[in-house]
């Protein structure tokens, strides 16, 4: 295949005694919106930092746009955009000065690539003389994205771009990513939020430095191997306690106002659950079969014994 944008083979990185990433193999196609999903400490940032030439792997190979991240790092830096998890633009420079600075560093200008950043930058252009440090979280994020895009990169890396951003800005941000994807740019985005994973073309679920699965969100959900029950009771805590002590329980996790329950018995009927819970004096409000969410899949993958 000649439209591979990112290729990672057997990548390892260790910090002291902690194995940050273990034997990562991953291929991302050109134009894909790819999500790295996992909790803090899963190795998402390490992987992104290796791909953006900021960190050297201990072993394994990685290339972006067919450029090796170690050997061809100079050329590669011209072609990638990176938005670190922490806001890292100059707080004491204005919006426009920041953008112009990064444009000139890449030997371009704001005007030259204005069309690409326009949908994003136009939202903050009214504040272009304001210092970056005085912007709100959502505006900072838009500025950071504009700066990462100003040199028209072929691949864009976003490290937890929506962490610490309000819900409305998060939705807006993903809208912007969808729009960017339409321009043909490859996007690798990491996030700890499972709901955001649904918006990606494909996601890699990561845990403790390993990739648990690489699938599209739909495949992932369809491949959930169990019947999943949604149970809601008056006393949520009590319900969870009862389910966790039941010998027929495979798994029970709290999801907001409800419990997601999987039985060990794949033939389990609603009545049986209801009877058991009522025998334990638990007042049930609702029981129903539901389809798995990404988070259910993640929980399932995390609990699975390691494949040999």
């Amino acid at each position: 295949m000649n439209n591979r944008s990112i290729e990672i083979v057997e990548l390892n990185k260790r910090y002291g005694t902690i194995q940050a990433i273990k034997n990562i193999n991953l291929t991302i196609q050109t134009g894909e919106l790819f999500g790295l999903v996992g909790p803090d400490g899963a190795g998402k940032t390490t992987l992104i930092r290796i791909l953006t030439t900021l960190l050297l792997a201990d072993s394994g190979k990685a290339s972006v746009n067919k450029l090796d991240v170690v050997k061809n790092y100079k050329q590669l830096r011209e072609q990638i955009g990176y938005m670190p998890g922490r806001f890292s633009l100059y707080m004491d420079l204005s919006v426009e000065e920041n953008l112009a600075f990064f444009a000139t560093i890449f030997g371009t200008s704001i005007q030259e690539n204005y069309d690409l950043i326009k949908p994003i930058y136009s939202q903050i252009e009214a504040f272009k003389t304001r210092k970056a440090g005085a912007l709100s979280g959502g505006m900072k994020q838009k500025l950071a994205l504009s700066c990462a895009l100003i040199h028209r990169p072929k691949v864009l890396f976003l490290d937890e771009p929506t962490t610490g951003v309000d819900a409305v800005s998060r939705v807006e941000f993903w809208e912007m990513l969808k729009e960017l994807k339409n321009t043909g740019i490859t996007i690798l985005v990491s996030t700890p939020y499972m709901d955001e994973a649904e918006l990606c073309d494909r996601v890699a679920l990561m845990q403790n430095g390993e990739i648990l699965s690489i699938e599209s969100p739909d495949e992932l959900k369809n491949n959930f191997p169990h019947d999943l029950w949604y149970i809601k009771a008056e006393n949520q805590y009590k319900l969870l306690q009862i389910l966790r002590t039941w010998e027929k329980t495979y798994s029970a996790h709290g999801f907001g106002q409800s419990i997601h329950f999987v039985s060990q018995d794949s033939q389990m009927k609603e009545d049986e659950i209801r009877q058991f819970l009522e025998s334990k004096t638990c007042k049930i409000q609702r029981i129903m079969r539901i389809g798995a969410s990404i988070e259910d899949c993640f929980m399932e993958l995390m609990n699975q014994p390691k494949k040999a």
């Binding site: 953006t52 030439t53 900021l54 960190l55 050297l56 790092y73 100079k74 830096r77 011209e78 990638i80 955009g81 990176y82 670190p84 922490r86 806001f87 890292s88 633009l89 100059y90 707080m91 004491d92 420079l93 000065e97 600075f101 990064f102 000139t104 560093i105 890449f106 030997g107 700066c147």
Partner: protein
């Protein structure tokens, strides 16, 4: 080159936008000049002394009067016994005590010799030493006078070797002439090492280095862009400090200003390199301040800015072989006071040049974009 220009533009923009920066650049030299030069002086004035005169003779009285007449010594207390005199010394009422034993005059006349005692508060060793030296001179003078009077001739005096000291390059032993170049060196060092180091480490602390590191900016471009502004500011502040020194203290400037600035340029390369080096192994501005302060205090105190290197122990003098401030302060004084040329200063110039090369090489080698 174009990238460096853009970096410089950004740096200067940030420097002048930093509220504390302008005061540092303009107020610091003025303050250092006005406050430190006046305060850090070894000149002796107003030494208070006490007398415990058990003899109460014409000779002792005459001697005390002679001492009081000198501009350096003020008679503060006369005591009748040693305990009282010691009390005055203890209470800081006097800095030194002259003790004349009984029969001082009688012994002098009869045996041609008499003994007296001087008690000096030596908590401040420098003051004590200088007081003693001044006092010694006055006593020697008085000695001669007595000999002359007793023999009614100049016999003794004529046979002595007379010392006629002449102080070259600073004829009036004006302490400010000695201090000002020292203060200028401190100024240039602070700017070169701290401001550049802080600026570099701030990029790390704020995380902005991450964004810079993924750009195609080369290591040398980034470093040049970071250090050059402080080279300019350092040279500017040196010029500014020299103007103040000329106007307020009328410091002699015998040598060529070009020579002075060539030396300053090389010295600034050394301290900028030091700032860069410290910034590579510190993560926050606070850490840099501590490390930098520690290094600078040692180098300043050993360099001979405040105390003559020649009177330091041998190991300390050896240490100064690796102290760039020692070379710069020596060169600066030689240029300003003696008018030494670059050819005279070859040793200092090449030493500083070696420091500059080693320091910058080390710093650049330790500075990494990737970890």
């Amino acid at each position: 080159m174009r990238v460096i220009l853009h970096l410089l533009k950004k740096e200067f923009r940030q420097i002048f936008r930093n509220r504390i920066m302008i005061p540092i650049i303009f107020v610091m030299p003025i303050m250092q000049m006005l406050v430190l030069v006046y305060a850090a002086t070894f000149e002796m004035k107003n030494i208070d002394f006490g007398v415990m005169d058990a003899d109460k003779s014409i000779t002792t009285n005459e001697f005390v009067q002679k001492l009081s007449a000198s501009p350096f010594f003020n008679l503060k207390a006369t005591s009748n016994n040693l305990d009282e005199a010691n009390e005055n010394l203890l209470n800081d009422k006097v800095d030194l005590i002259l003790v004349f034993p009984e029969n001082f005059e009688k012994n002098l006349v009869r045996d041609n010799k008499a003994e007296m005692q001087i008690l000096i508060n030596a908590i401040n060793g420098t003051v004590a030493g200088i007081s003693q030296a001044y006092l010694g001179e006055i006593i020697a003078e008085y000695n001669k006078q007595i000999i002359a009077e007793f023999y009614k001739t100049n016999v003794g005096v004529g046979q002595n070797i007379r010392i006629q000291a002449q102080f070259w390059y600073n004829p009036e032993l004006n302490y400010k002439v000695y201090m000002v170049p020292g203060i200028l060196v401190v100024l240039v060092t602070v700017i070169g090492m701290f401001l550049s180091g802080l600026n570099l480490v701030r990029e790390k602390e704020m995380g902005t280095i991450e964004q810079i590191n993924v750009t195609p900016i080369r290591k040398y471009q980034f470093i040049v862009g970071k250090l050059l502004p402080f080279l300019f500011i350092g040279l500017f502040d040196l010029a500014f400090g020299l103007v103040i020194a000329k106007i307020i203290f009328d410091i002699p400037m015998v040598g060529s200003m070009l020579t002075l600035f060539i030396m300053a340029f090389v010295f600034l390369l050394v301290v900028l390199g030091a700032g860069l080096l410290v910034s590579t192994f510190t993560e926050t501005q606070q850490q840099l301040m501590f490390v930098g302060y520690f290094v600078m205090i040692i180098f300043i105190l050993m360099s001979g800015i405040f105390t003559p290197v020649e009177s330091m122990p041998i190991w300390a003098q050896k240490f100064n072989l690796i102290n760039p401030m020692y070379y710069f302060i020596a060169a600066l004084r030689m240029i300003l006071l003696k008018g030494s040329t670059l050819a005279d200063l070859q040793y200092y110039f090449y030493s500083l040049l070696v420091f500059a090369i080693v320091m910058i090489w080390l710093a650049v080698w330790k500075y990494k974009k990737v970890n």
